[in-house]
Symmetry: C2
């Protein structure tokens, strides 16, 4: 053992223990505030349903705020991914109040959205403030942004291992680089610790029972995985398409007004709030009884509409909803236990839409236990394959093509295909 | 959704369901035969200790067999990794009887070795026989070899997820590519299924209890991780050094004769068989009481000697032994539970020595449950960092440097540094 390399690693470790702890403190605290507020606005909406009629008004204010102050940050998650690939400028701190306020208004007035986008953007933007403070060089800033994503994801879902790997996996499709391995794991663990230390808990999902593996159960799992991947792809395509359509409205603040009218009218026509907000109660329901296919389809449409027109939040919790209810509905035709299919859909659709199969496998293990690990992993891996070169993050670069036939697309951003 | 890409993915899926099932059948059956034989020779040795005196003779026959018939395959794991990077020729089927026989003789006569090398080499070599049979193109053969490694690893340890990721992670240090994702997972799952279907079970390790995360427990985990990484590095360095020293003996079959004399004499002097063979009972013991540091040190020396002089087997189970007993010994000074430290060492030292942190994290979750997942992951990640650009596989290429200071080493093989 030569002394020099070990010293370099010791310095690297010490440096990132300090920086990642700071990231964890910032992102974890932001996630705690966000989760508590989100609980509060969700509860307030469910007890004051008239608020949903005001969704177009809320949309106008969100659109106006971004129009006036948010030109630089309206690309959200994609802004952070772009900065990882090609650094241009510090991520403005104003991203934090804009995305936090926008998400809370979206949920208070009945949009269908998630929370990972918000947590990841807050994590990335807060982390990036350390760049100036600590005078970090560009190569360190890259690791810092990745660790910020990991911290935001880990703390908002209470899944530190999935969060750590999500940050490493999300910016490049088809490959993972380990230079940010230690920073991401440290930031994810400390952010999750900080959120929990603020007394904020997470949803408990059922632990999946072991199901003996047979060639037939594996075959069913593969079929389910294909469907999860195709639905993930449809979701991504629909959000992009809706977003393009709304782009025809020249004055941006009017886009969520129209979208808000459509979403609020749908809620009124459906006569239920089942498909708006995070939808956590329905996700839990999906593990216990086989739901109707209408559940996943309606959630998919309303979420694509909400996010495509300019409301804020994230795609991930709705994707959990879509996947879990799709899996649950499949239990009517695929002879696997309903809880298992719901769990597989939960992580599988998300793996396909975000192109993060290893993070989603880890998330499955963290949330549902290891007993059904093989089924969860196969759902993620197959869904990842079948979503093709599409996804919810247009700034994600293709590090390695999913199929040799599309090898020429390597190096492109998903949004540029 | 365009129709063409989905068709391409469907064909890819069908193709690899067939190929991976064949790989799984071959590798899983080979692992089953191997594990049953290994149990038998271990039991026979422990009831006929006089066999250990014949270790030098066994060494001569192993050395002679490889000298006469095994020139092409003596590089073992590294041959398979080299073929993944730069295909030259089919892996000769004779590798299978040579490594299987060599490993069984090593264990029967009291060498200190493992089994993953044997299983991985059998998996890779058997898979490669399909190359000719199915007339696979070079780009498919690459995926086939990776899937063969995954299948061998998964079936010999009963950990399909860790096996799948191990195959993906082991040939490139510091990065993971996903082109073999589906083939690896399918081959790992089916090989594990086949081994179990033959009625062959695996060691059950204790499920680790949850330990509340605090800044102090994380600090202890990081310190332990550093030690695991440094020990992994020492082990790899020692095996290479011993191997170089024995290389001075011109006639190769005499190398394991001398090594066998030294190992057998050590066993006689120590008066115990505690440090030879796989050592599974001691690994289990390490979870229950804090062992002496002598355990890890003696196992490290005897394994490095056994493998460095030319006996066969693998490094991984001895690394589990070294890590678990080192963790267990640390419980005397580091205030974490002994079972937790043993589990962290089990996966951590191996993660450092093989440079496979994600596979080892998954292995920890599969063997010890998710409750202590954060500690297991941190042990793997930190040990990975601190083993530096060293490791037990000299044909492993550096895909991404662990530290920017060593960026120039990217693209080199570990053995060429």
């Amino acid at each position: 053992m030569r002394a020099v390399p070990t010293t370099a690693y010791v310095l690297f470790l010490l440096r990132w223990v300090v920086i990642s702890t700071l990231i964890g403190g910032l992102a974890g605290t932001a996630s705690a505030i966000f989760l508590v507020s989100l609980d509060w606005v969700t509860h307030w909406r469910e007890t004051h349903l008239v608020l949903i009629a005001l969704l177009p008004v809320a949309g106008f204010f969100i659109g106006l705020a971004y129009h006036l102050f948010g030109n630089q940050v309206v690309r959200g998650n994609n802004l952070i991914l772009d900065e990882i690939h090609a650094p241009r400028q510090l991520i403005p701190l104003r991203l934090v109040p804009l995305v936090l306020g926008g998400t809370l208004l979206t949920h208070l007035f009945g949009g269908s959205a998630g929370r990972e986008g918000t947590a990841v953007q807050m994590g990335g933007a807060l982390a990036d403030q350390l760049t100036r403070l600590l005078k970090l060089r560009p190569r360190d800033r890259r690791l810092l942004l990745i660790a910020g994503i990991s911290a935001g994801f880990a703390s908002v879902f209470g899944t530190p291992l999935a969060g750590a790997v999500f940050g490493l996996e999300v910016f490049l499709l088809g490959s993972m680089r380990y230079d940010a391995l230690l920073p991401s794991f440290l930031a994810a663990v400390s952010a999750d610790f900080v959120t929990r230390a603020w007394g904020v808990g997470h949803t408990h999902y059922p632990q999946l029972a072991s199901l003996p593996i047979t060639p037939l159960t594996i075959l069913y799992a593969l079929i389910a995985g294909v469907l999860f991947g195709l639905v993930a792809r449809s979701f991504a395509a629909l959000v992009h398409r809706i977003s393009q359509l709304f782009g025809r409205i020249a004055y941006a603040p009017l886009r969520p007004v129209l979208g808000g009218v459509l979403v609020a009218a749908s809620v009124w026509a459906l006569g239920t709030t089942r498909y708006i907000g995070l939808g956590v109660p329905v996700i839990v329901e999906a593990f216990h009884l086989s739901l109707s296919p209408a559940d996943f389809a309606l959630k998919l449409l309303l979420t694509a509409l909400t996010l495509g027109c300019g409301f804020k939040g994230g795609e991930v919790t709705p994707l959990f909803f879509i996947g879990a209810t799709l899996g649950s509905a499949l239990a009517g035709v695929v002879p696997l236990p309903v809880a298992l299919l719901a769990g597989m859909g939960f992580v599988g659709v998300f793996a396909g839409a975000a192109n993060t199969p290893i993070a989603c496998t880890l998330m499955g293990l963290e949330l549902f236990g290891v007993q059904a690990g093989v089924y969860l992993a196969l759902a993620c891996v197959v869904a990842y394959l079948f979503s093709g070169h599409t996804g919810i993050y247009s700034a994600q670069q293709i590090g390695q093509a999913k199929h040799l036939r599309f090898g020429r697309q390597q190096g492109s951003r998903l949004g540029d295909l």
